[in-house]
C-alpha cells in the first residue's frame, strides 16, 4: 500500500483547501498588494482627472478639468448621463494609422483606444481603410448614404469638397461650447489661428480636426555625405566641397553625383508617381518667387502657365535622370523600402521616415544610425534663399452628417487632437500620425521616437511649408495638375503643353466652382503661406 493511499480523507480535504487558498492568494495578491512604485505609476498626478498612467513621464499627458482634454471627457460623461451618448463610435481610419490608437505605448501604458473607452465607457470601433482610399471610401459613404462611419479621416485639403457635399458636420457650435484651444501659443498649432484656419476650417467654419503633420521633409544618408572618399571624388569632379544642397541646382548636381544604379544607389527618390509626385513639383515651383511663387494671383488667375511653371516642370522632368527607372510608378512604400535598404542618397518624405527607418527595432533597415535631415533646397532670389516645402496628405478627421451623435464624435476628436493626447499618440511608432503641434516638437517622447536631429529640422521645415490647394474643387484642381505632370514625365506632353493644358483645365474648374467662393478660399489659403527667407550660404 502506498503512502498516498494512507492519507485520510479529512487530511486530503484540508491540504486541498490550503493549496486552493495559497493559489488564490498568489493570483489575487497583485490586485491588493502592489509595490509602492507600481501604485505611483498607475495613479494620476495630483489635480489631474484623466490621462494615461503606467509609465515614466505619464503625467505629461494627463489633464485637469479645465483643459481641452478634460472638458471633452467631462462633456461626454454629461452626454451619457443625459442619455445622449452612443454606446460606440465608428472611426474610419487609414490602415497604417490604426496602430497608434490600438497599440499600447510606451511599455506599461494603455492604448489610446483603451484609455478613451475606460474614461468614457464608449466603445471606439476603428474601421481600417486602405491607404490612399480614404477620400474614395468617404465619398462612397456620403453618396450612398451608407452610414458606415461616424467619423471620416481624409486628406486635410479635401475639407472644402466634403463640406460642399453636405456630408460632414459644421463643428462651430461644438468648438465654441467646448473650447479646444487649438490656437494656444505654447501648445497649439503652428501659426496660431492661421494654422487652425488652414487645417480645420473651410470658409471660416470648422469642419475638421487635424490629426496629422505631413510636412514633407528632406533626409539624406550621413554615411555617404561624411565619407572621405566621396568628398574627395565630389571635389575632384565639381571643384567644390560636398555639402547638403542649398539650391535646386546644387541638389541636382549632388543627386547626379550619387546616382549609381549599377551599385543599387539612386541619387534621390522624392516621388514622381501619380497622386504624390506633384508635391515635389510644388517645391520647385513655389520657390521660383520671393517670398513665394503663388499658384493664383489675387484676382483668381492661375499663374502656372508662365516661365516659372514651365521651368519648374522642365526641372521636374529632367530630375528623372537621377531617380529609379520605375520612379513614375513608385509610391511611398517603394520609396521607404528602397531607402531602408540603402538604395538612395537623398529623399523627401513624410516626417516619420526616421521614426521607422532609423530604428534599431527595424531589423530590415540597413540605414539605422545613418540618416540625417536637411532643409528643403531653394533658390537664390534678391540675395535671399527661398526654401519651400509642402504640406501634403495630412489626415484630418470630420464628423459624418449621418452620425446620430455628432457632439460625442466631436468630443472624441477634441480629446484625440488635443496637445497632451496627441503628443502621446504621435510618439507611438505604431502608425503614421506625425507631429504638428508646437508642443509636439519639444515633447521628450516624440523627440525620442522621431529623433532630436530630425525634430529640429521638421520644426524649421514647417516654417517654410506652403499648403497645397484646399479651395472648393481641390480634388479637381490637383487631378488636372497631376495628370498633366505625369504626361510631361512620360514625354507625351512638353512642359509648355502640360502647363498650358493645366491652366485651361483650372479655368474650367474655377468657372464651375464659382469665382466668389474661389477668391475667398484663395485669400484664406495665401495667408498661411510662409514668408521666411534664409541668408545665402546657409
Amino acid at each position: 500500500m502506498t503512502n498516498m493511499i494512507r492519507v485520510s480523507r479529512r487530511r486530503l480535504l484540508a491540504s486541498g483547501g490550503q493549496a486552493v487558498a495559497a493559489i488564490a492568494a498568489v493570483g489575487l495578491a497583485p490586485k491588493f498588494i502592489r509595490p509602492a512604485r507600481a501604485q505611483a505609476a498607475d495613479a494620476l498626478a495630483p489635480g489631474m482627472i484623466g490621462g494615461p498612467t503606467g509609465f515614466e513621464g505619464a503625467e505629461r499627458y494627463q489633464y485637469g478639468p479645465d483643459t481641452p482634454e478634460g472638458r471633452a471627457i467631462e462633456a461626454v460623461k454629461e452626454l451619457k448621463g443625459a442619455g445622449k451618448a452612443p454606446s460606440r463610435i465608428v472611426l474610419g481610419l487609414s490602415d497604417g494609422s490604426i496602430g497608434q490608437l490600438t497599440q499600447p505605448f510606451p511599455a506599461g501604458a494603455p492604448s489610446i483606444k483603451e484609455l478613451w473607452e475606460k474614461e468614457t465607457g464608449i466603445t471606439l470601433d476603428i474601421v481600417g481603410v486602405p491607404n490612399g482610399q480614404e477620400f474614395t471610401k468617404t465619398m462612397q459613404d456620403i453618396s450612398t448614404k451608407g452610414g458606415a462611419y461616424d467619423i471620416y479621416a481624409v486628406e486635410w485639403n479635401r475639407l472644402g469638397d466634403l463640406a460642399e457635399t453636405g456630408g460632414i458636420v459644421n463643428l462651430d457650435e461644438y468648438v465654441e461650447k467646448h473650447r479646444p484651444e487649438w490656437d494656444d501659443p505654447e501648445r497649439g498649432y503652428v501659426g496660431g489661428q492661421k494654422g487652425v484656419s488652414l487645417l480645420n476650417q473651410y470658409r471660416g467654419s470648422t469642419y475638421g480636426v487635424s490629426l496629422d503633420g505631413d510636412f514633407q521633409v528632406w533626409v539624406y544618408r550621413t554615411d555617404l555625405f561624411n565619407d572621405d572618399a566621396e568628398k574627395k571624388a565630389f571635389a575632384d569632379r565639381h571643384g567644390r566641397e560636398l555639402a547638403l544642397p542649398a539650391t535646386w541646382a546644387e541638389f541636382d548636381e549632388v543627386a547626379a553625383f550619387f546616382h549609381r544604379p549599377d551599385q543599387g544607389l539612386f541619387g534621390s527618390t522624392d516621388l514622381r508617381n501619380q497622386g504624390w509626385g506633384y508635391t515635389n513639383w510644388y517645391q520647385r515651383y513655389v520657390s521660383m518667387g520671393s517670398p513665394n511663387q503663388f499658384l493664383f494671383d489675387d484676382a483668381g488667375t492661375a499663374l502656372i502657365n508662365s516661365e516659372a511653371g514651365v521651368k519648374a516642370t522642365e526641372e521636374y522632368v529632367a530630375s528623372l535622370a537621377h531617380h529609379s527607372p520605375d520612379a513614375i510608378s513608385w509610391g511611398w512604400p517603394e520609396q521607404y523600402g528602397n531607402f531602408a535598404s540603402g538604395g538612395a542618397a537623398m529623399t523627401c518624405a513624410f516626417s516619420n521616415l526616421p521614426k521607422f527607418l532609423d530604428n534599431p527595432a527595424n531589423e530590415g533597415s540597413k540605414i539605422t544610425g545613418k540618416i540625417g535631415s536637411m532643409l528643403p533646397p531653394g533658390r537664390a532670389i534678391d540675395d535671399k534663399l527661398v526654401r519651400r516645402s509642402v504640406l501634403w496628405l495630412n489626415l484630418s478627421a470630420s464628423v459624418s452628417a449621418q452620425s446620430q451623435h455628432p457632439e460625442a464624435c466631436y468630443l472624441l476628436l477634441q480629446w484625440l487632437g488635443s496637445s497632451r493626447i496627441y503628443a502621446w499618440m504621435t510618439a507611438n511608432p505604431g502608425g503614421y500620425f506625425d507631429p504638428f503641434r508646437l508642443s509636439d516638437f519639444s515633447d521628450p517622447l516624440v523627440r525620442q521616437t522621431y529623433h532630436g536631429y530630425h525634430m529640429d529640422i521638421v520644426r524649421e521645415t514647417v516654417a517654410r511649408t506652403v499648403p497645397t490647394i484646399n479651395y472648393p474643387g481641390a480634388t479637381a484642381f490637383h487631378n488636372a495638375l497631376d495628370e498633366n505632370l505625369v504626361a510631361a514625365l512620360t514625354k507625351s506632353k512638353t512642359p509648355e503643353q502640360a502647363m498650358a493644358d493645366t491652366d485651361r483645365e483650372w479655368k474650367r474648374i474655377a468657372r464651375r466652382v464659382g469665382e466668389d467662393k474661389l477668391l475667398e478660399a484663395i485669400k484664406a489659403n495665401k495667408e498661411a503661406w510662409p514668408t521666411v527667407l534664409d541668408p545665402i550660404g546657409t
Binding site: G92, D95, G96, T144, G264, P333, G337, N362, E363, Y432
Partner: protein, 286 residues
C-alpha cells in the same frame, strides 16, 4: 509527314518561350513567398531567383503570427479575406451559372426573349465604375454592403453575361435530335433538360464555371467598393499589405498570392477531364 529538324527546333523554342512567359511570374511569386525580408528587394546585384535563406515567415505573418523580422503588426489576418473570397466567388459562380444556363437553354431551344442577349451584354458595355456607382447606392439601401452574400449576388450578376453567352454557344451546338427523341418517348421538357441535356453538357458547364469562378475570384474593383472591413476579399486585403518599416510587404503579398492560386488550380485539376472536352465542344459540326 515528317517535319524538318529546323522546324522542330523552332517549334520547341516557341513552346519554351510561351511557357517561360506564362510561368516566370508564378515562379517569381513562389520564390518570393519563401524569401526573408532582406531578399525581397535588391539594390543592384543581390537579386536572386531562389531564396538564399528560405523561410515560412511570410505565411506565418499573414496568419497573424508576428515574427521578429516582420515587426509590423497586422490589424487583421488573411483568414477572413480567404473565407470571403471563397464564399463570394463560389456562390457568385453558382448564381451566374444557374441563371445563365437556364436563360441560354431557353433562348437556344425556344427562341424566346430575342432581346435578352443584348440586354445581358449591356452590363459589360459600360465602364465598370459607371455601373458600380448605382450598384453601390442600391446595395447600401438593401444593407448588402460589406456582406459576402452581397458580393456573391453582384458577382453572379456581372458574370451572368459570360455564363449565358458561353452556355448558349454550347446549347446551339448540341444536337437537338436526342432531346426530340426523349420528348417523343413521353419525357417532359423539364425532365429532358435535367436528365438528358445537363448531363451531356457537363463538360461545357465545367469549363464555363471555371472561367466564371476565376473572374469572380480575381475581382478587385467591386470588392473594394462594396466592402469596408468584415468581408474584404483577398485582392483588397493584399493591397493593404504595406508598412512604413519595410515598404511594400512583397513576401507577404507573394505568400498570399500563392495561397490565392490554390482554389482555381484545384478546381482546374478536379474538372480537368471535362475541361478539354468543354473547350472543344461543338468544334466539329456533325
Amino acid at each position: 509527314m515528317t517535319r524538318s529538324p529546323a522546324f522542330e527546333i523552332f517549334r520547341y523554342a516557341a513552346i519554351l518561350l510561351a511557357l517561360a512567359f506564362a510561368l516566370i511570374p508564378i515562379l517569381w511569386m513562389t520564390s518570393m513567398a519563401f524569401k526573408p525580408i532582406p531578399e525581397w528587394t535588391a539594390t543592384g546585384a543581390d537579386l536572386t531567383w531562389w531564396p538564399k535563406s528560405p523561410t515560412l515567415d511570410n505565411f506565418r505573418f499573414i496568419f497573424g503570427e508576428s515574427t521578429s523580422a516582420l515587426i509590423v503588426a497586422l490589424d487583421r489576418t488573411a483568414g477572413k479575406p480567404i473565407l470571403a473570397s471563397l464564399l463570394s466567388a463560389t456562390f457568385g459562380t453558382i448564381i451566374a451559372m444557374a441563371s445563365g444556363t437556364a436563360a441560354a437553354y431557353a433562348l437556344s431551344r425556344f427562341g424566346s426573349g430575342q432581346n435578352l442577349p443584348l440586354a445581358l451584354i449591356q452590363l459589360r458595355l459600360f465602364p465598370p465604375m459607371a455601373v458600380m456607382i448605382p450598384v453601390m447606392i442600391m446595395w447600401s439601401f438593401l444593407g448588402l454592403v460589406d456582406t459576402w452574400w452581397g458580393l456573391a449576388l453582384i458577382y453572379g450578376i456581372v458574370t451572368l453575361p459570360f455564363a449565358f453567352w458561353l452556355m448558349k454557344t454550347f446549347f446551339d451546338d448540341m444536337p437537338r435530335e436526342i432531346e426530340e427523341a426523349a420528348l417523343v418517348e413521353g419525357c417532359s421538357r423539364f425532365r429532358v433538360f435535367i436528365k438528358i441535356t445537363l448531363p451531356m453538357m457537363r463538360a461545357p458547364l465545367a469549363s464555363s464555371a471555371l472561367f466564371v469562378f476565376i473572374l469572380n475570384w480575381s475581382d478587385y474593383l467591386i470588392a473594394l467598393l462594396l466592402t469596408t472591413r468584415e468581408w474584404v476579399t483577398i485582392p483588397v486585403y493584399m493591397a493593404s499589405l504595406s508598412s512604413s518599416m519595410t515598404g511594400q510587404l512583397y513576401g507577404a503579398k507573394a505568400a498570399l498570392g500563392l495561397i490565392a492560386a490554390i482554389p482555381p488550380v484545384i478546381l482546374g485539376i478536379a474538372i480537368q477531364r471535362h475541361l478539354v472536352r468543354g473547350v472543344t465542344f461543338g468544334a466539329l459540326k456533325q
